[in-house]
């Protein structure tokens, strides 16, 4: 069979898909973290907003924000990082709102997940795929 350019493109695409989404390898660890937080309870969508850039210029410093009115605490999970746990925010009685911003490190393009524990004991989640650019002559 002739190895055509089209074949090369298809093979390349397959290899690239894995490289672009390394989170497959860390999916189990992320689930564990979320399970540890929720104790296995249902997690619904809505009630929490995760703000993250669509494209992170540099994986070293990615600005993100979480907001969940009425939450007791929020965890942030980076499914594609070697250690998915990023942070846990616990709001005290003098919190002006249940939101917080910070800057995080992302090892590569991946899905970021935020899970909130609400005051009534329920859990809510939001997620965002952040593309992390690599390469070029940034030096």
């Amino acid at each position: 069979m002739q190895f055509t350019r089209r074949d090369a493109l298809i093979i390349g695409a397959g290899a690239t898909t894995v490289a672009l989404f390394p989170m497959q390898a860390f999916a189990a660890a992320s689930d564990d973290e979320i399970m540890a937080f929720t104790g296995g309870a249902d997690v619904t969508e809505g009630g929490i907003v995760l703000t993250a850039p669509e494209i992170a210029e540099n994986g070293n410093t990615v600005p993100v924000a979480v907001s969940a009115p009425g939450a007791v605490s929020i965890i942030l999970i980076a499914t594609g990082n070697p250690n998915p746990k990023v942070a846990k925010f616990t709001f005290g009685p003098l919190a002006g709102s249940q939101d917080a911003s910070t800057r995080i490190r992302l090892a590569g393009t991946q899905e970021l997940i935020a899970v909130a524990q609400m005051a009534d004991g329920t859990f809510a989640r939001d997620s965002s795929i952040v593309k992390v650019t690599i390469g070029g002559c940034g030096g």
Binding site: L9, T133, G136
Partner: protein, 284 residues
């Protein structure tokens, strides 16, 4: 700028290439702390033959990165400015002086200096960069050790002094006594070097506003230095950046603090004459 379909196909096989929709050098207003308006786009100085509009490196960054520079608190470079403010009061050297001991008017005395450096210095008999002036003070007047060109204390101090000129237009002299070094700098800028046989101009004049892999090429202006780079989470000096660029094209870099880099720094600064001094910028 979204490239046409051909680019899409190519991007599937290129790991790092993603369809980025950053708009080439078209950025909103650059207003710091809601008060200080900086010029980040303006007519190119007369001596630039091949460029008609000059842009600050700020224009080329993602909007989240741009936002980091618009507030002095959010700007991580200011952690280092704070350190320099502390350093200003520290007594060092045999003469038993701190910066404050002689510069009784405070660092504010240096308003306007960053905008005109590097420059020909009569006494020194050659081009002086800001780092040279700082070290001259340290060795001659404080009788303390010189700082390394790009060490943390040095970049922090150049950031603090540079901040005093924030908002002023870059205005380095290229004629008279400075002419010789300026011509040398220009020659270096256009001279292809290294394994990749590239000159500064190859990227920063011939290909700004386009991508090299996933990097969005700027005009290579220096009005924002020292730059806090997200990449290494610290302040970077101009010569350190020159060195990095030369390494990237697989050339043997000149040394930080060398005459070649001073000449190049003068020439590159002059390509930005008219842009505002940014104090300490935030870049990739």
């Amino acid at each position: 700028m979204i490239k046409p379909n051909l680019q899409r196909v190519a991007s599937i096989v290129t790991v790092a290439a993603l369809t980025l929709s950053l708009n080439a050098a078209v950025a909103g207003d650059m207003i710091i702390n809601g008060e200080i308006s900086l010029v980040h786009e303006t007519e190119a100085p007369a001596h630039l033959e091949n460029i008609s509009t000059i842009y600050s490196g700020w224009n080329y960054r993602a909007k989240e990165t741009q936002a980091l520079q618009l507030d002095d608190f959010d700007n991580p470079g200011f952690l280092f400015v704070d350190q320099a403010i502390d350093q200003w009061e520290v007594v060092e050297g045999e003469a038993g002086k701190s910066c404050a001991a002689c510069h009784t008017g405070g660092v504010e005395e240096f308003a306007g200096l960053r905008a005109v450096l590097p420059r020909y210095d009569e006494e020194a008999g050659g081009i002086q960069s800001m780092e040279d002036y700082i070290n001259e003070c340290r060795t001659d007047r404080m009788q303390a050790d010189a700082w390394k060109w790009s060490e943390s204390k040095m970049t922090a101090m150049t950031a603090l002094i540079g901040l005093q000129s924030r908002g002023m237009p870059v205005n380095v002299a290229i004629d008279g006594d400075a002419a010789e070094a300026w011509e040398l700098g220009k020659e270096i800028y256009y001279q292809p070097v290294g394994q990749l046989d590239m000159a500064c101009a190859s990227c920063h004049e011939d290909n700004y506003n386009t991508y090299i892999r996933a990097d969005f090429l700027s005009q290579g202006q220096t009005n924002g230095f020292p730059a806090y780079r997200l990449k290494n989470a610290k302040l970077n000096s101009i010569h350190a950046r020159f060195k990095g660029c030369m390494k990237n094209i697989r050339a043997t870099p000149y040394k930080e603090g060398s005459d070649e880099f001073r000449a190049l720094e003068l020439y590159v600064a002059s390509r930005g004459n008219g842009l505002s001094v940014e104090g300490t910028s935030v870049r990739n």
